[in-house]
Symmetry: C2
Subunit: 106 residues, 2 copies
DNA sequence: TATATTTGCAACCGAATAGTTTCATAATTA
DNA sequence: TAATTATGAAACTATTCGGTTGCAAATATA
């Protein structure tokens, strides 16, 4: 069973769940109301998100409130980071080209 | 056939390919040398990455050089953006708490 | 206490995934 | 021209994935 954050956010329903509970903590029932699939399907998604620690639970009586584990989201950001460096460099290079052109014009 | 960037980067081999060709353009053969699976398997990964426009090809004779489509990578960053806002806010709130504590100490 | 509610788990199913082997095509080289 | 090299496509396979239905456990309410 592969269970990492990238595999977790590959599914559009799970991405939507993350966006939902990022705004406020929610119970599985409340989350499921936003989707066409069954509550059990959403429950399975929540299990996957919990297993890779992208969400955490808080039991309150018979209800369980799910909330986002924002620190784990940073790991995805960390992976993107190495590419961000590239596009920022390319942007600066473009900037250099533009300013060189400007100087030549003068 | 679902073919979006999140599904594309879900596979660890594809993520490694992206990191590899981010540094320099490479041919499928050169890329495949870095993995234990067959050249054909890598070829399939490249097709998926090409289909969702995360990489582009440039034919040179019988060789094909693959390079990263950095703009497409920004789309992932864009999705992370909404969560970045959250963790920055939380960080600031923590900052407020700390400075309040500091003031009380004085 | 009996009933309703909230939730997760197990078993099953069809589709998708990632890999393999085999083959075809096009370009280079001997 | 013949052999070699670089590549992608097709067919097949085992495994995983996302969904379903049915069930059990725990808590709340009548």
């Amino acid at each position: 069973m592969r269970r990492d954050i990238f595999q977790a956010i590959a599914d559009p329903t799970r991405r939507a769940i993350l966006v939902l509970i990022a705004v406020q903590t929610m119970t599985p029932n409340a989350i499921a109301e936003n989707f066409n699939s069954t509550r059990q399907a959403v429950s399975k998604h929540l299990r996957i998100l919990t297993e890779c620690e992208l969400v955490k639970q808080e039991q309150k009586g018979r209800e369980i409130y799910y909330s986002i584990e924002i620190d784990k989201m940073k790991e995805i950001d960390k992976w993107i980071e190495q590419f961000r460096k590239i596009w920022e460099t390319r942007f600066n290079q473009l900037d250099d080209v533009l300013s060189t052109l400007k100087k030549k014009k003068k």
